[in-house]
């Protein structure tokens, strides 16, 4: 969490002539860059040359990489993706809140609150142990099956609930590991000042714990963004479902490729950013 990273200044010797060691290291670097470039080109070249030689390539190209279908369906897919983003946007804060609550339940020590602790353990065990799609089916079809009146039979509500249930179990576990990672001496220092356990958790432990697990939680939320597509099984016409509609309409799989590209456009930068945060944190710890 140190904002001031002290980078060793590489320009210290810029004015003077390079040392023997610097010359040697520059040579090694140049050589390994050259090797990396050559091997990458060789692999790419092999793919470009060999794949079109496969017997089914022409039909695959027609079915999956059809420019005309791509152009016709892409705007519609993009529009459907807004729904994915919306579902994500209202699920994520709920997941953060429920995940925190469950993590705190699991961390209670008082015997009177033992039922809470038990609930926290059972909750994380159950929802981390079930496939997401199964929870979506059971909740998404089961609860509206009770014959609830509109709008309480909406698949949006129950699909969101399913996502929140599953993902908050994972977020709770990540947060708990963050809470455990805070050194005992921090709690000692807080206790020695006369702070209550509650205040120690709220002002000393949690702020540090949450900061420590931001990168790990980023990865969970990237997974959530993808799993929003599973809600298509219970009704909402989000991008995956929309791609299916186009597939039937054009008798062509290209819309799926379009949908994949749209997902990647969002998830790759997010993944890179999570990795960047993780690396930064590892450096700060060293």
């Amino acid at each position: 969490m140190s904002e001031t990273s002290h980078k060793p200044s590489a320009v210290a010797h810029a004015a003077t002539a390079p040392t023997r060691r610097e010359l040697y290291e520059a040579g090694v670097r140049k050589r390994s860059n050259r090797v990396a470039l050559l091997s990458t080109l060789a692999v790419l070249g092999a793919i470009v040359v060999l794949v079109p030689l496969a017997p089914g390539w022409e039909s695959v190209q027609r079915a999956f990489f059809n420019g005309r279908v791509f152009a016709a369906t892409f705007p519609g897919l993009l529009e459907a993706f807004v729904l994915n983003v919306a579902i994500f946007a209202w699920s994520a804060p709920l997941i953060a809140i429920v995940g925190l609550a469950i993590a705190l339940c699991r961390d209670t020590r008082s015997p009177a609150l033992f039922p809470l602790r038990l609930f926290g353990i059972a909750y994380t065990d159950v929802f981390r142990g079930l496939p997401v799609v199964l929870v979506i089916y059971i909740i998404g079809f089961g609860i509206p099956g009770l014959g609830l009146p509109r709008p309480w039979n909406s698949p949006y509500i129950w699909g969101t609930l399913a996502l929140v249930l599953v993902y908050s179990a994972y977020v709770a576990e990540v947060l708990r590991s963050g809470i455990d990672s805070i050194h005992q001496s921090q709690r000692s220092a807080a206790a020695s000042l006369g702070l209550s356990e509650r205040d120690t958790m709220r002002y000393v432990v949690l702020p540090q714990a949450i900061r420590n697990v931001v990168p790990a939680n980023m990865n969970l939320f990237i997974a959530l963004q993808k799993d929003v597509a599973l809600l298509s099984f219970i009704g909402p016409v989000e991008i995956f479902r929309q791609a299916g509609v186009y597939k039937s309409l054009y008798a062509n799989f290209t819309p799926y490729v379009g949908a994949a590209l749209i997902f990647l456009a969002l998830t790759i930068p997010a993944t890179r950013y999570a990795d960047y945060l993780m690396n930064k944190q590892n450096r700060a710890r060293r």
Binding site: M1, S185, G194, S196, V204
Partner: protein
Amino acid sequence: MMAKLSLRGVRKRFGDVDVCNGIDLDVADGEMVCLIGASGSGKSTLLRCMNLLEPIDDGSIWLDGSDISEPGLDAQPVRQKIGIVFQSYNLFPHMTAAENVMLAPRRVHGHTRDALRPKITALFERFGLGDRMDHYPDQLSGGQQQRVAIIRALAMAPEIMLFDEITSALDPELVGEVLDVLRDLRQQGMTMVLATHEMGFARELADKVCFLDAGRILEQGPPAKLFTAPREARTKAFLSRVL
């Protein structure tokens, strides 16, 4: 005269090791007591027992004549009266120096930041940190961090201060600035108990020096006596190694 803080037969055991093995100690009001002894002789544990961070296994601890070591007693009010400063500072890294200091007075005494600011500014200035209040711990040197930790403990207006080898983690040139703070507190009449390796400092300022060995106070007395004419052979051996 009744002692401010009294320990009677205090025992603390970690697993098979008797870290404190029947300790008797009296600290009078305004007195400065130094605990000396080799690493592992029980100095730190004894301090942690005094403000109830470690529950004692046997014996009793008395503060102003009341037993604070009774099992099940609420430790919070006691800890508010007995401040402790640790070897490794233990500042809260996500808060500025000023926030570190204000947290407990805000949460425990219910003061507002605005009400506290002038008081803690005075404390920071008194200890030469007037321009460091809004820095984060990792932007401060070890000596500065340790002074912030002392201010943090003082801000709760404790009646007794415990110092657990607070200069041991510091570079030699930073030790002086922290010891100056202790001199200042000594002049103000603060009751203090220090675990320390700074023999020169103990000799200069302590009212009483206790030599701990294997969880017992082997010998205690005024520094002039203990440092120049130790009674016990082990005390002599220890002092000849560190002086």
